[in-house]
């Protein structure tokens, strides 16, 4: 297994943009590579993606493997997984981190079978075991009630998808240089019977919850869809966006894209105001990375009242209007 060397990350590119998860993977991957004394390498798959290599070097990547081909313009599982496996078999990485985004999760799963290796899903922490140099990937299971550390001892690369927002984004320092290695796309081998037809950009504004500093989230305690009108006012006043726990989404009060938690999205805003949210662990898994969490809840015994930084016991329909008033002073 000695021939398997270096830490790889997938720098996801979709719709012509490199995902910021690449920067988080750099932070995580850099740590692993330094511990092992190996190189940190990034993989770019897509059409016209070579241009992102410099940004990756600037943030700490040593080598960038590029497979740049029009056939990779859009994500089709088989084409991407076969290409990625081709790269794995050619260059033999030791560890391979992918983002646990929709693309990353399905691509990593299929690639792991083609590569005949093990994969840990949606990890939140990755470490190298100093004794044997193995990857220890820790991930939440059972809806976040249990953390499990998983290894992959006998096969390489040790693959892992890493939950977005689990690591800080690597900052760009002064212009650095690195090596670009181009991998030729094999149109005869990397095929799929599936056809990509089109991409429809999602409508609606303020939907990028990962970019916003303030999130005002509502839960079952809102009692009705109209409750979000009030949350919207507060979010607008604070320059943030509105989100929700699972119950309002299940009740159809708000769209799924705004769901925070294990079955929704993970966010890391500066300020997270949870209104009428009890604080189930599944929800907290999606927001516990916030710098500060405020809980507004009628029930002083709700779990969130202990997990938040600031707990306000009260009726959100009384507290929020009063907050708006206080903010205007």
């Amino acid at each position: 297994m000695k021939e398997w060397k270096n830490v790889w990350i997938l720098a996801e590119v979709s719709n012509g943009k490199m995902s910021s998860t690449a920067y988080e993977l750099i932070t995580a991957g850099r740590g692993l590579a330094d511990t092992l004394g190996e190189k940190l390498c990034a993989v770019l798959l897509g059409a016209d993606v070579k241009k992102f290599a410099q940004d990756l070097f600037d943030r700490g990547v040593d080598v960038v493997y590029v497979c740049d081909d029009l056939a990779l313009t859009n994500y089709v599982d088989d084409i991407y997984a076969k290409t990625l496996n081709g790269m794995i078999q050619t260059y033999k990485p030791n560890k391979f981190l992918l983002p646990a985004t929709n693309l990353g999760r399905s691509l990593s799963a299929k690639t792991a079978i083609f590569a005949g290796t093990g994969l840990t899903a949606d990890a939140t922490e990755v470490l190298i075991n100093p004794e044997d140099g193995q990857l220890h990937a820790t991930r939440p299971t059972f809806g976040g009630n249990l953390m499990a550390t998983i290894t992959c001892a006998r096969t390489r690369p040790e693959m892992c998808s890493l939950r977005p927002m689990s690591y800080p984004k690597a900052a760009a320092s002064e212009s650095k240089t690195g090596e670009v290695i181009e991998f030729a796309f094999d149109a005869g081998k990397y095929t799929s019977l599936a056809k990509f037809l089109q991409f429809i950009k999602s409508e609606g504004e303020g939907l990028d919850l990962s970019e916003t500093d303030v999130i005002v989230a509502g839960g079952r305690g809102l009692g009705k869809a109209e409750g979000f009108d009030l949350l919207n006012k507060l979010a607008e006043r604070l320059g943030g966006a509105v989100a929700a726990s699972r119950a309002p989404v299940d009740n159809g009060w708000i769209e799924y894209r705004r769901q925070i938690g294990l079955t929704g999205r993970t966010v890391k805003p500066k300020l997270y105001i949870a209104c009428g949210i009890s604080g189930q662990i599944q929800h907290m898994a999606g927001c516990s990375g916030a710098d500060v969490i405020v809980a507004i809840n009628k029930d002083p015994e709700a779990p969130i009242m202990k997990m938040a930084h600031y707990a306000v016991e009260g009726d959100l329909y009384e507290v929020i209007p009063a907050m708006l008033e206080a903010l205007d002073k």
């Binding site: 929709n102 399905s106 599936a194 429809i200 206080a326």
Partner: protein, 265 residues
């Protein structure tokens, strides 16, 4: 068309208890049921059957008690159910599980050609979302994950909408293919009285590793590539500052003051 849904028996609530001393999962007494994400997958399979006049088969891998989710599948509209049960499967990770399921699929496929496999997005116990893409990898069938809608179906293919972080991809997949679906895909029905009664009488086909011709060197805790080396309860923050005040209004004012003071707003 012939649709196969993959289901798993999991603890009914993901709110399982952890032993505070050992940090282990307390499984005893935890009620089991069909993985909630699989309900959406099976419902969509049944809807397709109703639309196209086809049939729905369901497969699961699990201990003897997992037969219950297959009976439940009958109640929800499935026609035939298959259980992969063998000590050789015990402790399999997603790599081995998807291998066994793929072997089961091959056997069903030999009896009655499958057009489409539908899996739930993930399970509520291990949350990986690997099984759909991985079954397709073993079978070398095209696949799509995070499917939120089947836009159209014809005799040769389906067109699906896939959820991405930025929007929606539209893909055409020829049969046979595999999709894993998110909950927007369907609205699971309440099991009919007829279905509930049929469930009790349904015949469950049970297959061992040998029955499906699976290579035992690829199965079970000893042979699968990944291993759980440690499990523990997550740390929780318990140092909330309780914002004081005589009423909601006072507390709100105090909160705004605190947030401003600490430069959060």
């Amino acid at each position: 068309m012939h649709v196969l849904a993959c289901v798993k028996q999991t603890p009914k609530s993901d709110n399982v208890k952890i032993d505070p001393v050992t940090g282990c999962l307390i499984r005893s007494g935890a009620e089991s049921a069909m993985n909630p994400f699989d309900e959406y997958a099976l419902e969509e399979a049944v809807v397709l059957k109703e639309q196209t006049g086809g049939r729905v088969s369901v497969i699961t891998m699990g201990p003897p008690a997992a037969e219950n989710v297959l009976r439940d599948s009958i109640a929800r509209g499935a026609d035939k159910v298959y259980q992969l049960g063998d000590m050789a499967f015990a402790g399999s990770d997603t790599w081995s599980t998807s291998y066994a399921l793929a072997k089961g699929v091959e056997k069903i496929n030999a009896e009655d050609k499958i057009d489409l496999i539908i899996c739930g997005k993930q399970t509520n116990d291990s949350d990986t979302g690997h099984i759909g893409p991985q079954i397709s990898a073993w079978l070398n069938w095209p696949n799509a994950a995070f499917v939120k809608k089947i836009v159209s179906v014809n005799e040769k293919s389906i067109t699906v909408e896939r959820l991405t972080e930025a929007g929606t991809d539209v893909l055409e997949l020829p049969f046979p293919c595999v999709i894993s679906v998110v909950k927007e895909i369907s609205n699971p029905r309440v099991r009919s009285v007829k279905g509930r009664m049929a469930a009790k009488r349904a015949e469950v086909t049970k297959w061992t590793a040998d029955d499906i011709g699976a290579d035992k060197n690829k199965l079970g805790v000893k042979n699968c590539p990944t291993r759980v080396v440690k499990s523990f309860s997550p740390q929780r923050c318990t140092n909330a500052v309780v914002v004081e005040g005589a009423n909601g209004k006072e507390k709100a004012a105090k909160l705004v003051e605190l947030l401003k003071e600490n430069k959060y707003i």
